[in-house]
């Protein structure tokens, strides 16, 4: 099952919902990996939706693409990574008009980054729907070197840029679309607890 119930947390931590069809002139759905399942469920609720939908999908090694294509969206784009797809996302948002509905599904890293693009294009954050599916991995920023480490699944973890041992915080930055990682052994270098899987 691709759904996960996040534990209650601090106010800065994003909260995700369940996608629902909304009236709109056009629909933009951006998803990665198991996020495809949320789109498949959404499509099953409203047969007319797909004719006005542009799907941007990053499979991340999953095999949902054929199922998404079979929905016959007005446009379908498959990207090898979020970074490779971001130009397309910006172009679609730049050409879009009011009445566009945006749906984001999949990992937190994808939703946070795509949310930023949609907000800077002029859509209020509260009007953008999100649904978490699949991996609970986090996109982390090292507060020391500012480097971003993608797909972090353990706490603590090693910063992929500066090599510090970082503690995974719930403190979230919308601007960076990342959680904050703070050095865990600053006082006592080398005294690093055994990494445990997130939420375990």
């Amino acid at each position: 099952m691709s759904k996960f119930q996040f534990p209650e947390s601090i106010a800065s931590r994003p909260v995700y919902g369940t996608l629902e069809p909304r009236p709109g002139k056009a629909h933009l759905m951006i998803a990665d990996a198991e996020g495809a399942e949320a789109i498949l469920e959404l499509a099953s609720q409203d047969a007319a939706l797909m004719a006005k939908t542009h799907i941007i999908y990053i499979p991340k090694g999953t095999d949902f693409s054929e199922k998404l294509r079979a929905l016959k969206p007005a446009q379908f784009y498959e990207g090898p990574s979020y970074d490779a797809s971001v130009q397309r996302i910006q172009k679609v948002l730049g050409d879009a008009h009011m009445g566009l509905q945006v749906y984001l599904a999949g990992t937190e890293g994808l939703m946070g980054q795509a949310m930023n693009e949609a907000v800077s294009a002029g859509i209020p954050a509260s009007a953008i729907q999100t649904e978490h599916r699949g991996s609970v991995a986090r996109r982390m920023q090292c507060v020391h070197c500012k480097g971003i480490t993608e797909d972090v699944v353990t706490d603590p973890f090693v910063c992929s840029h500066c090599g510090l041992n970082l503690f995974v915080r719930d403190h979230y930055s919308r601007r960076l679309a990342a959680f904050q990682g703070v050095c865990i052994d600053a006082e006592d270098p080398g005294n690093v607890p055994e990494p445990v899987e997130l939420y375990k």
């Binding site: 002139k25 009011m98 566009l100 294009a121």
Partner: protein, 328 residues
């Protein structure tokens, strides 16, 4: 103890002014311009703000909110445009019939419940009749920052098109006027279609028009955050009723032609308010006990609050029934 500044009196701070010009614009609308009596500059305001005008009408004090329509960059005057309402409660008639150049009056500091969202990529204004007034100030403000805007203005007839010619001459490509008597209607659906992402719309006019814009925009998939409206409600007359104010420890009578807020003020209770039109939320009052029906008319409380019978907005809402006790 609490460090919050305590205001001496309810309502926004006041400014003593002198009427500097009275300019009839057409059969129904007159502009009033004010200078500060102390000769100083007015406080700056952001477009969309209103002021509450205090009118001394015999022994009756009237307090009516009006949108500031002068240029926010000009701190030497404040101006309002008032539509005469012959069926109204008398505030607009007082302004039209009694107020003369040189009169001393009192205004409140501006309060803005209808501000521009400056993150917008584009601003689209929909005005109906006297609803044009806040847009006069908004247009002046946006012109200074080279803002992207357009106005769609519905009036009854060319003769009653307040500021229609002036605006059309100044901004021929941005101002679109529609006359009822020529069966011209704002093509709302077409106008909502194809606006760039990040467009905000603003509507000021009759209730029907405001509801029409909100409903049509929602059906077109516009986020509610991008649709702004302002409507000041005038208190409506109703059956007189009695209210017990338990903090003040008095029982008062609300007359047919006064609002609950006005009745409290008449009896010397310093009740909070800002807009006096059901929009700002400042006057919200807890109900201690009620036996009867509320006549809620505000835009502030949600349906759940209205149904709960636990809250009332005394500036516009009334009560019909046996007992009403308020925490005031």
């Amino acid at each position: 103890m609490s460090a919050a500044p305590q205001k001496a009196k309810a309502g926004a701070e006041k400014i003593a002014v002198t009427v500097s010009a009275v300019v009839p614009l057409n059969d129904l609308v007159t502009r009033f311009e004010f200078k500060r009596t102390d000769g100083a500059e007015f406080p700056p305001f952001s477009a969309g703000a209103h002021t509450v005008v205090e009118m001394q009408d015999g022994d009756r004090t009237r307090l009516n909110p009006y949108s500031l329509m002068s240029d926010p960059a000009d701190r030497s005057i404040y101006a309002i445009s008032v539509r005469r309402d012959d069926q109204g409660r008398g505030g607009s008639l007082f302004m039209h019939q009694k107020v003369k150049v040189g009169d001393a009056m009192t205004l409140t500091y501006p309060v803005n419940l209808f501000s521009l969202d400056l993150r917008a990529k584009k601003h689209v204004f929909f005005a109906g009749g006297i609803g044009i007034t806040p847009f006069k100030a908004m247009i002046a403000q946006l012109e200074q920052s080279n803002g992207n805007w357009e106005l769609h203005y519905a009036c009854r007839t060319p003769a009653l098109g307040t500021y229609a010619d002036e605006l059309t001459n100044a901004y021929p490509n941005k101002v679109h006027v529609y006359y009822d008597d020529q069966n011209q209607v704002i093509p709302l659906e077409d106008l909502l279609d194809g606006q760039p992402l990040g467009t905000h719309v603003y509507v000021c006019g009759p209730t029907g028009m405001i509801d029409w814009v909100h409903a049509t925009a929602a059906a077109h998939g516009w986020p509610s955050e991008n649709v702004h409206s302002e409507e000041f409600l005038a208190p409506q007359p109703g059956k007189p009723f009695e209210v017990r104010l338990c903090q003040s420890d008095i029982t008062i009578q609300v007359g047919e032609h006064e609002s609950l807020l006005e009745a409290m003020e008449r009896c010397g209770v310093d009740a909070p308010f800002l807009c006096r039109g059901g929009a700002c939320g400042q006057c919200e009052t807890d109900v201690v006990e009620a036996e009867g029906d509320f006549v809620h008319r505000d835009h502030w409380l949600d349906d759940e609050d209205h149904a709960s019978g636990k809250k009332i907005m005394p500036c516009v809402s009334r009560f019909v029934g046996k007992t009403l006790v308020l925490d005031r």
